[in-house]
Protein backbone atom coordinates (compact mmCIF):
# COMPACT_ATOMS: atom_id res chain seq x y z
CA UNK A 1 0.00 0.00 0.00
CA UNK A 2 2.73 2.43 1.05
CA UNK A 3 4.89 1.42 -1.92
CA UNK A 4 1.92 2.06 -4.18
CA UNK A 5 1.45 5.53 -2.75
CA UNK A 6 5.12 6.36 -3.27
CA UNK A 7 5.07 4.92 -6.77
CA UNK A 8 2.09 7.02 -7.83
CA UNK A 9 3.42 10.03 -5.96
CA UNK A 10 6.63 9.69 -7.97
CA UNK A 11 4.72 9.29 -11.22
CA UNK A 12 2.65 12.41 -10.55
CA UNK A 13 5.70 14.40 -9.49
CA UNK A 14 7.58 13.37 -12.63
CA UNK A 15 4.53 14.16 -14.78
CA UNK A 16 4.24 17.52 -13.07
CA UNK A 17 7.89 18.41 -13.65
CA UNK A 18 7.76 17.23 -17.27
CA UNK A 19 4.50 19.10 -17.82
CA UNK A 20 6.05 22.39 -16.73
CA UNK A 21 9.45 21.95 -18.40
CA UNK A 22 9.52 19.62 -21.41
CA UNK A 23 5.91 19.66 -22.57
CA UNK A 24 5.80 23.37 -23.58
CA UNK A 25 8.79 22.68 -25.85
CA UNK A 26 7.15 19.78 -27.68
CA UNK A 27 3.88 21.63 -28.29
CA UNK A 28 2.57 21.64 -31.86
CA UNK A 29 0.79 24.84 -32.88
CA UNK A 30 0.11 25.61 -29.23
CA UNK A 31 -1.35 22.17 -28.55
CA UNK A 32 0.39 20.37 -25.70
CA UNK A 33 -0.34 16.97 -24.16
CA UNK A 34 -1.62 16.79 -20.55
CA UNK A 35 0.62 14.28 -18.80
CA UNK A 36 -1.12 14.74 -15.44
CA UNK A 37 -4.40 13.74 -17.00
CA UNK A 38 -2.78 10.66 -18.55
CA UNK A 39 -1.28 9.73 -15.17
CA UNK A 40 -4.67 10.23 -13.48
CA UNK A 41 -6.32 8.00 -16.05
CA UNK A 42 -3.89 5.15 -15.40
CA UNK A 43 -4.24 5.62 -11.65
CA UNK A 44 -8.00 5.21 -12.05
CA UNK A 45 -7.51 2.15 -14.23
CA UNK A 46 -5.15 0.45 -11.78
CA UNK A 47 -6.51 1.59 -8.41
CA UNK A 48 -10.16 2.34 -8.95
CA UNK A 49 -12.55 5.21 -8.38
CA UNK A 50 -11.80 6.05 -4.77
CA UNK A 51 -8.10 6.73 -5.40
CA UNK A 52 -8.87 8.52 -8.67
CA UNK A 53 -11.50 10.80 -7.13
CA UNK A 54 -9.23 11.83 -4.23
CA UNK A 55 -6.17 12.28 -6.40
CA UNK A 56 -8.17 14.05 -9.10
CA UNK A 57 -9.58 16.52 -6.59
CA UNK A 58 -6.21 17.43 -5.04
CA UNK A 59 -4.44 17.41 -8.38
CA UNK A 60 -7.07 19.74 -9.83
CA UNK A 61 -6.89 21.98 -6.78
CA UNK A 62 -3.12 22.18 -7.14
CA UNK A 63 -3.54 23.10 -10.80
CA UNK A 64 -6.06 25.77 -9.86
CA UNK A 65 -3.61 27.23 -7.39
CA UNK A 66 -0.59 27.23 -9.63
CA UNK A 67 -2.07 27.99 -13.04
CA UNK A 68 -3.20 31.58 -12.71
CA UNK A 69 -5.50 33.04 -13.85
CA UNK A 70 -8.04 30.33 -13.13
CA UNK A 71 -11.25 29.83 -11.22
CA UNK A 72 -10.51 28.10 -7.94
CA UNK A 73 -12.24 24.71 -7.98
CA UNK A 74 -12.60 24.53 -11.75
CA UNK A 75 -9.85 21.96 -12.31
CA UNK A 76 -10.65 20.29 -9.00
CA UNK A 77 -14.22 19.57 -10.15
CA UNK A 78 -13.25 18.49 -13.68
CA UNK A 79 -10.47 16.19 -12.47
CA UNK A 80 -12.67 14.73 -9.73
CA UNK A 81 -15.40 13.84 -12.21
CA UNK A 82 -13.00 12.57 -14.89
CA UNK A 83 -11.23 10.43 -12.26
CA UNK A 84 -14.61 9.12 -11.19
CA UNK A 85 -15.49 8.32 -14.81
CA UNK A 86 -12.16 6.60 -15.58
CA UNK A 87 -12.44 4.61 -12.33
CA UNK A 88 -15.47 2.75 -13.71
CA UNK A 89 -13.03 0.81 -15.88
CA UNK A 90 -10.85 -0.38 -13.04
CA UNK A 91 -8.75 -3.36 -14.13
CA UNK A 92 -9.71 -5.21 -10.94
CA UNK A 93 -13.34 -5.16 -11.96
CA UNK A 94 -13.08 -5.72 -15.70
CA UNK A 95 -10.63 -6.55 -18.43
CA UNK A 96 -9.83 -3.54 -20.59
CA UNK A 97 -8.01 -4.26 -23.83
CA UNK A 98 -5.48 -1.88 -25.34
CA UNK A 99 -7.62 -0.28 -28.03
CA UNK A 100 -10.46 0.33 -25.60
CA UNK A 101 -7.95 1.84 -23.18
CA UNK A 102 -6.84 4.35 -25.78
CA UNK A 103 -10.44 5.25 -26.59
CA UNK A 104 -11.08 5.67 -22.87
CA UNK A 105 -8.20 8.13 -22.57
CA UNK A 106 -9.85 10.23 -25.25
CA UNK A 107 -13.29 10.05 -23.59
CA UNK A 108 -11.80 10.89 -20.16
CA UNK A 109 -10.19 13.97 -21.66
CA UNK A 110 -13.52 14.98 -23.14
CA UNK A 111 -15.30 14.52 -19.79
CA UNK A 112 -12.65 16.57 -18.03
CA UNK A 113 -12.67 19.38 -20.59
CA UNK A 114 -16.46 19.44 -20.90
CA UNK A 115 -16.80 20.05 -17.15
CA UNK A 116 -13.97 22.57 -17.27
CA UNK A 117 -15.50 24.57 -20.12
CA UNK A 118 -19.01 24.42 -18.68
CA UNK A 119 -17.71 26.02 -15.47
CA UNK A 120 -15.82 28.57 -17.53
CA UNK A 121 -18.89 29.49 -19.58
CA UNK A 122 -21.04 29.83 -16.46
CA UNK A 123 -18.50 31.88 -14.54
CA UNK A 124 -17.19 34.15 -17.30
CA UNK A 125 -20.04 34.18 -19.85
CA UNK A 126 -17.46 33.69 -22.57
CA UNK A 127 -16.72 31.06 -25.24
CA UNK A 128 -18.74 28.05 -26.28
CA UNK A 129 -18.34 24.59 -24.77
CA UNK A 130 -18.66 22.73 -28.08
CA UNK A 131 -16.34 25.11 -29.91
CA UNK A 132 -13.69 24.82 -27.19
CA UNK A 133 -14.02 21.06 -27.10
CA UNK A 134 -13.49 20.76 -30.84
CA UNK A 135 -10.81 23.42 -31.17
CA UNK A 136 -8.76 22.68 -28.05
CA UNK A 137 -9.72 19.45 -26.34
CA UNK A 138 -9.78 17.08 -29.32
CA UNK A 139 -6.25 17.91 -30.54
CA UNK A 140 -4.95 17.89 -26.95
CA UNK A 141 -6.60 14.53 -26.25
CA UNK A 142 -5.23 13.05 -29.47
CA UNK A 143 -1.74 14.26 -28.68
CA UNK A 144 -1.99 12.93 -25.11
CA UNK A 145 -3.11 9.56 -26.43
CA UNK A 146 0.40 9.10 -27.77
CA UNK A 147 1.69 9.21 -24.22
CA UNK A 148 -0.98 6.75 -23.14
CA UNK A 149 0.80 4.27 -25.43
CA UNK A 150 3.89 4.29 -23.20
CA UNK A 151 2.64 1.66 -20.67
CA UNK A 152 1.56 -0.54 -23.58
CA UNK A 153 4.98 -0.18 -25.25
CA UNK A 154 6.62 -1.02 -21.93
CA UNK A 155 4.47 -4.17 -21.52
CA UNK A 156 4.78 -5.24 -25.12
CA UNK A 157 8.38 -4.52 -26.05
CA UNK A 158 10.47 -4.28 -22.87
CA UNK A 159 12.27 -7.51 -21.94
CA UNK A 160 10.70 -9.50 -19.07
CA UNK A 161 13.72 -8.85 -16.84
CA UNK A 162 12.94 -5.13 -16.99
CA UNK A 163 9.43 -5.64 -15.68
CA UNK A 164 8.74 -5.67 -12.00
Amino acid sequence: MRANIFKWGGIFLLSFVLQTTVVPVIGIAGITPDLLMVALFFLALKNGQMAAVGTGFFLGLAQDLFSAPSILGQNALSKTLSGFFAGFFNERMMRVDFVFQIVLVFVTFMVNDAVYFIVQVIKTDGGGVIHNLVATSVPRALYSMLFALLPYIKERFLPTSFRR
Binding site: V17, T20, T21, Q49, A62, I71, Q74, L81
Partner: protein, 277 residues
Protein backbone atom coordinates in the same frame (compact mmCIF):
# COMPACT_ATOMS: atom_id res chain seq x y z
CA UNK B 1 -26.15 6.67 13.81
CA UNK B 2 -24.37 3.40 13.08
CA UNK B 3 -26.42 2.82 9.95
CA UNK B 4 -25.36 6.21 8.61
CA UNK B 5 -21.70 5.27 8.99
CA UNK B 6 -22.37 1.92 7.32
CA UNK B 7 -24.11 3.68 4.47
CA UNK B 8 -21.15 6.05 4.05
CA UNK B 9 -18.65 3.19 4.05
CA UNK B 10 -20.78 1.21 1.63
CA UNK B 11 -21.17 4.08 -0.80
CA UNK B 12 -17.84 5.70 -0.05
CA UNK B 13 -17.03 6.40 -3.69
CA UNK B 14 -20.31 8.24 -4.22
CA UNK B 15 -19.78 10.11 -0.97
CA UNK B 16 -16.22 11.01 -1.97
CA UNK B 17 -17.36 12.26 -5.38
CA UNK B 18 -20.19 14.27 -3.85
CA UNK B 19 -17.89 15.69 -1.21
CA UNK B 20 -15.15 16.61 -3.68
CA UNK B 21 -17.64 18.01 -6.19
CA UNK B 22 -19.47 19.91 -3.47
CA UNK B 23 -16.23 21.42 -2.24
CA UNK B 24 -15.21 22.31 -5.78
CA UNK B 25 -18.58 23.91 -6.50
CA UNK B 26 -18.39 25.80 -3.22
CA UNK B 27 -14.99 27.15 -4.24
CA UNK B 28 -16.20 27.96 -7.75
CA UNK B 29 -19.25 29.85 -6.53
CA UNK B 30 -17.42 31.78 -3.82
CA UNK B 31 -16.70 35.49 -4.46
CA UNK B 32 -13.27 36.41 -5.91
CA UNK B 33 -11.84 37.80 -2.65
CA UNK B 34 -12.78 34.62 -0.77
CA UNK B 35 -11.26 32.57 -3.61
CA UNK B 36 -8.04 34.54 -3.27
CA UNK B 37 -7.98 34.03 0.51
CA UNK B 38 -8.65 30.30 0.16
CA UNK B 39 -6.02 29.98 -2.56
CA UNK B 40 -3.47 31.74 -0.37
CA UNK B 41 -4.32 29.56 2.63
CA UNK B 42 -4.14 26.33 0.61
CA UNK B 43 -0.95 27.35 -1.14
CA UNK B 44 0.87 28.11 2.10
CA UNK B 45 -0.46 25.25 4.18
CA UNK B 46 -1.05 22.13 2.06
CA UNK B 47 0.64 22.75 -1.24
CA UNK B 48 3.91 24.25 -0.09
CA UNK B 49 6.03 21.21 -1.13
CA UNK B 50 4.31 21.20 -4.49
CA UNK B 51 4.94 24.90 -4.81
CA UNK B 52 8.64 24.35 -4.14
CA UNK B 53 8.73 21.66 -6.83
CA UNK B 54 6.80 23.92 -9.19
CA UNK B 55 9.17 26.80 -8.49
CA UNK B 56 12.21 24.61 -9.08
CA UNK B 57 10.73 23.23 -12.29
CA UNK B 58 9.85 26.73 -13.50
CA UNK B 59 13.30 27.91 -12.52
CA UNK B 60 14.92 25.06 -14.43
CA UNK B 61 12.80 25.90 -17.47
CA UNK B 62 13.69 29.60 -17.10
CA UNK B 63 17.38 28.79 -16.71
CA UNK B 64 17.29 26.86 -19.97
CA UNK B 65 15.54 29.73 -21.77
CA UNK B 66 17.78 32.30 -20.08
CA UNK B 67 20.89 30.33 -21.02
CA UNK B 68 19.75 30.20 -24.63
CA UNK B 69 19.02 33.93 -24.60
CA UNK B 70 22.33 34.78 -22.95
CA UNK B 71 24.25 32.68 -25.45
CA UNK B 72 22.69 34.53 -28.36
CA UNK B 73 23.30 37.86 -26.59
CA UNK B 74 26.95 36.95 -25.98
CA UNK B 75 27.37 36.12 -29.66
CA UNK B 76 25.74 39.41 -30.64
CA UNK B 77 27.78 41.44 -28.15
CA UNK B 78 31.02 39.74 -29.17
CA UNK B 79 30.34 40.72 -32.76
CA UNK B 80 29.49 44.28 -31.65
CA UNK B 81 32.63 44.54 -29.51
CA UNK B 82 34.77 43.33 -32.41
CA UNK B 83 33.10 45.87 -34.68
CA UNK B 84 33.55 48.67 -32.13
CA UNK B 85 37.21 47.78 -31.64
CA UNK B 86 37.70 47.91 -35.38
CA UNK B 87 35.87 51.22 -35.57
CA UNK B 88 37.97 52.59 -32.71
CA UNK B 89 41.17 51.70 -34.51
CA UNK B 90 39.80 53.16 -37.74
CA UNK B 91 38.73 56.28 -35.87
CA UNK B 92 42.24 56.69 -34.49
CA UNK B 93 43.72 56.27 -37.94
CA UNK B 94 41.30 58.74 -39.50
CA UNK B 95 41.96 61.25 -36.72
CA UNK B 96 45.68 61.00 -37.33
CA UNK B 97 45.06 61.37 -41.07
CA UNK B 98 42.93 64.44 -40.49
CA UNK B 99 45.57 65.86 -38.21
CA UNK B 100 48.24 65.16 -40.82
CA UNK B 101 46.09 66.70 -43.55
CA UNK B 102 45.73 69.90 -41.53
CA UNK B 103 49.38 69.94 -40.48
CA UNK B 104 51.06 69.42 -43.84
CA UNK B 105 51.52 72.31 -46.27
CA UNK B 106 51.36 69.84 -49.18
CA UNK B 107 48.35 69.51 -51.45
CA UNK B 108 47.31 65.91 -50.75
CA UNK B 109 44.62 63.44 -51.79
CA UNK B 110 43.57 61.06 -48.99
CA UNK B 111 43.16 57.53 -50.35
CA UNK B 112 42.34 54.07 -49.00
CA UNK B 113 43.96 50.84 -50.03
CA UNK B 114 41.47 48.67 -51.91
CA UNK B 115 43.75 45.84 -53.07
CA UNK B 116 47.16 44.46 -52.29
CA UNK B 117 49.78 42.68 -54.30
CA UNK B 118 49.08 38.96 -53.84
CA UNK B 119 52.80 38.13 -53.93
CA UNK B 120 54.33 36.92 -50.64
CA UNK B 121 56.45 40.03 -50.45
CA UNK B 122 54.04 42.92 -50.74
CA UNK B 123 55.39 45.30 -53.35
CA UNK B 124 52.45 47.34 -54.53
CA UNK B 125 48.94 48.33 -53.52
CA UNK B 126 45.92 49.68 -55.35
CA UNK B 127 44.29 52.82 -53.97
CA UNK B 128 40.85 54.26 -54.60
CA UNK B 129 41.78 57.39 -56.53
CA UNK B 130 42.72 57.80 -60.15
CA UNK B 131 42.41 60.31 -62.92
CA UNK B 132 38.99 61.22 -61.53
CA UNK B 133 40.79 62.90 -58.61
CA UNK B 134 43.65 64.32 -60.62
CA UNK B 135 46.21 61.61 -59.86
CA UNK B 136 49.15 61.42 -62.27
CA UNK B 137 51.86 58.81 -62.70
CA UNK B 138 54.94 59.29 -60.48
CA UNK B 139 53.12 61.33 -57.89
CA UNK B 140 54.60 60.54 -54.45
CA UNK B 141 52.55 58.61 -51.94
CA UNK B 142 53.10 59.23 -48.24
CA UNK B 143 51.76 58.07 -44.92
CA UNK B 144 51.49 60.09 -41.76
CA UNK B 145 54.96 58.93 -40.64
CA UNK B 146 56.86 59.11 -43.88
CA UNK B 147 57.10 58.14 -47.52
CA UNK B 148 55.31 55.03 -48.75
CA UNK B 149 55.97 54.82 -52.48
CA UNK B 150 54.96 56.35 -55.78
CA UNK B 151 52.12 56.03 -58.25
CA UNK B 152 53.20 53.92 -61.21
CA UNK B 153 49.93 53.38 -63.04
CA UNK B 154 46.77 55.45 -63.11
CA UNK B 155 43.30 54.23 -64.01
CA UNK B 156 40.04 56.20 -64.06
CA UNK B 157 39.24 55.60 -60.39
CA UNK B 158 42.19 53.51 -59.15
CA UNK B 159 45.94 53.85 -59.02
CA UNK B 160 48.75 51.36 -58.59
CA UNK B 161 51.29 52.40 -55.98
CA UNK B 162 54.79 50.93 -56.02
CA UNK B 163 55.87 50.76 -52.38
CA UNK B 164 59.36 51.51 -51.08
CA UNK B 165 59.39 47.84 -50.17
CA UNK B 166 59.93 46.97 -53.82
CA UNK B 167 63.70 46.39 -54.37
CA UNK B 168 63.33 48.19 -57.70
CA UNK B 169 62.06 51.32 -55.97
CA UNK B 170 64.96 53.46 -54.79
CA UNK B 171 64.59 56.81 -53.13
CA UNK B 172 67.10 59.60 -52.83
CA UNK B 173 67.52 60.59 -49.20
CA UNK B 174 69.68 62.70 -46.93
CA UNK B 175 70.52 62.77 -43.25
CA UNK B 176 68.68 65.73 -41.78
CA UNK B 177 71.44 66.58 -39.30
CA UNK B 178 74.49 66.39 -41.61
CA UNK B 179 72.85 66.62 -45.06
CA UNK B 180 74.77 63.51 -46.22
CA UNK B 181 73.05 62.23 -49.34
CA UNK B 182 72.40 58.57 -50.19
CA UNK B 183 69.79 56.21 -51.60
CA UNK B 184 67.23 54.28 -49.57
CA UNK B 185 67.24 50.67 -50.73
CA UNK B 186 66.04 47.24 -49.82
CA UNK B 187 66.99 43.82 -51.12
CA UNK B 188 64.32 41.69 -49.52
CA UNK B 189 61.52 44.11 -48.73
CA UNK B 190 62.20 43.72 -45.01
CA UNK B 191 65.58 45.32 -44.26
CA UNK B 192 66.11 48.88 -45.48
CA UNK B 193 69.49 50.46 -45.76
CA UNK B 194 71.50 53.31 -47.27
CA UNK B 195 75.20 53.40 -48.06
CA UNK B 196 77.22 56.45 -47.03
CA UNK B 197 80.80 57.26 -47.74
CA UNK B 198 83.02 56.15 -44.90
CA UNK B 199 83.87 59.69 -43.76
CA UNK B 200 80.24 60.92 -43.69
CA UNK B 201 78.88 61.80 -40.28
CA UNK B 202 75.95 59.42 -39.79
CA UNK B 203 74.94 57.96 -36.46
CA UNK B 204 72.20 55.74 -35.09
CA UNK B 205 69.10 57.79 -34.31
CA UNK B 206 69.62 60.24 -37.18
CA UNK B 207 66.48 61.19 -39.04
CA UNK B 208 66.45 60.42 -42.74
CA UNK B 209 64.44 62.65 -45.05
CA UNK B 210 63.86 62.77 -48.77
CA UNK B 211 66.45 64.79 -50.64
CA UNK B 212 64.18 65.92 -53.45
CA UNK B 213 66.84 64.90 -55.95
CA UNK B 214 64.91 62.07 -57.51
CA UNK B 215 62.37 64.56 -58.74
CA UNK B 216 59.50 62.58 -57.29
CA UNK B 217 59.39 63.16 -53.53
CA UNK B 218 59.30 66.66 -52.12
CA UNK B 219 62.48 67.65 -50.26
CA UNK B 220 62.61 67.13 -46.52
CA UNK B 221 59.83 64.62 -46.16
CA UNK B 222 60.51 62.03 -43.40
CA UNK B 223 61.69 58.64 -44.65
CA UNK B 224 62.88 56.89 -41.49
CA UNK B 225 65.47 56.71 -38.75
CA UNK B 226 68.98 55.25 -38.76
CA UNK B 227 68.98 52.16 -36.55
CA UNK B 228 72.65 51.14 -36.69
CA UNK B 229 75.81 51.66 -38.70
CA UNK B 230 78.06 48.87 -39.96
CA UNK B 231 81.09 49.07 -42.26
CA UNK B 232 81.20 45.35 -43.13
CA UNK B 233 84.92 45.67 -43.87
CA UNK B 234 84.31 48.08 -46.73
CA UNK B 235 86.94 50.83 -46.88
CA UNK B 236 84.82 53.18 -48.98
CA UNK B 237 81.28 52.87 -47.69
CA UNK B 238 79.42 52.18 -44.50
CA UNK B 239 75.96 50.75 -44.36
CA UNK B 240 73.19 52.38 -42.31
CA UNK B 241 70.24 50.19 -41.42
CA UNK B 242 67.11 52.30 -41.63
CA UNK B 243 63.75 51.86 -40.02
CA UNK B 244 61.06 53.38 -42.28
CA UNK B 245 58.76 56.01 -40.79
CA UNK B 246 55.64 53.96 -41.56
CA UNK B 247 54.79 50.31 -41.13
CA UNK B 248 54.57 49.20 -44.74
CA UNK B 249 52.89 45.89 -43.86
CA UNK B 250 49.98 47.54 -42.07
CA UNK B 251 48.98 50.30 -44.42
CA UNK B 252 45.30 51.15 -44.77
CA UNK B 253 45.09 54.85 -45.56
CA UNK B 254 47.62 56.89 -47.50
CA UNK B 255 47.99 60.31 -49.15
CA UNK B 256 48.91 61.03 -52.71
CA UNK B 257 50.84 64.30 -52.87
CA UNK B 258 49.43 66.35 -55.72
CA UNK B 259 52.84 67.12 -57.15
CA UNK B 260 53.82 66.03 -60.65
CA UNK B 261 57.44 64.87 -61.01
CA UNK B 262 59.84 67.79 -61.18
CA UNK B 263 61.42 66.42 -64.32
CA UNK B 264 58.06 66.43 -66.14
CA UNK B 265 58.77 69.94 -67.44
CA UNK B 266 61.99 68.73 -69.05
CA UNK B 267 60.52 65.58 -70.41
CA UNK B 268 59.64 67.03 -73.80
CA UNK B 269 63.14 68.43 -74.21
CA UNK B 270 64.71 65.16 -73.10
CA UNK B 271 62.50 63.24 -75.51
CA UNK B 272 63.43 65.62 -78.36
CA UNK B 273 67.13 65.16 -77.56
CA UNK B 274 66.68 61.49 -77.83
CA UNK B 275 64.99 61.82 -81.19
CA UNK B 276 67.75 64.07 -82.53
CA UNK B 277 70.35 61.56 -81.54
Amino acid sequence: MRWILELIVRYRVIVAVLLASGLSLRLISSPPDLQAKTARFLAFSFFYPLQVTFDQATKAKNIYAENHLLKSEVALLTAQVAQLKDEKIENGRLRRMLDFEERTPLDIIPVSIVARDPSPVLKSVVVNAGTNKGVLAYMPVVGEGGIAGKVVQVMPSLSLVQLIKDPLNRTSILVRRTRAVSILETENGIDYFARFRIHEDVAAGDTIVTSGLGGIYPRGFPAGVVEKISDEGDRLFKKAAIKPGIDIDRLEELFIVRQPPQWAAFRAQLDSLGRKR
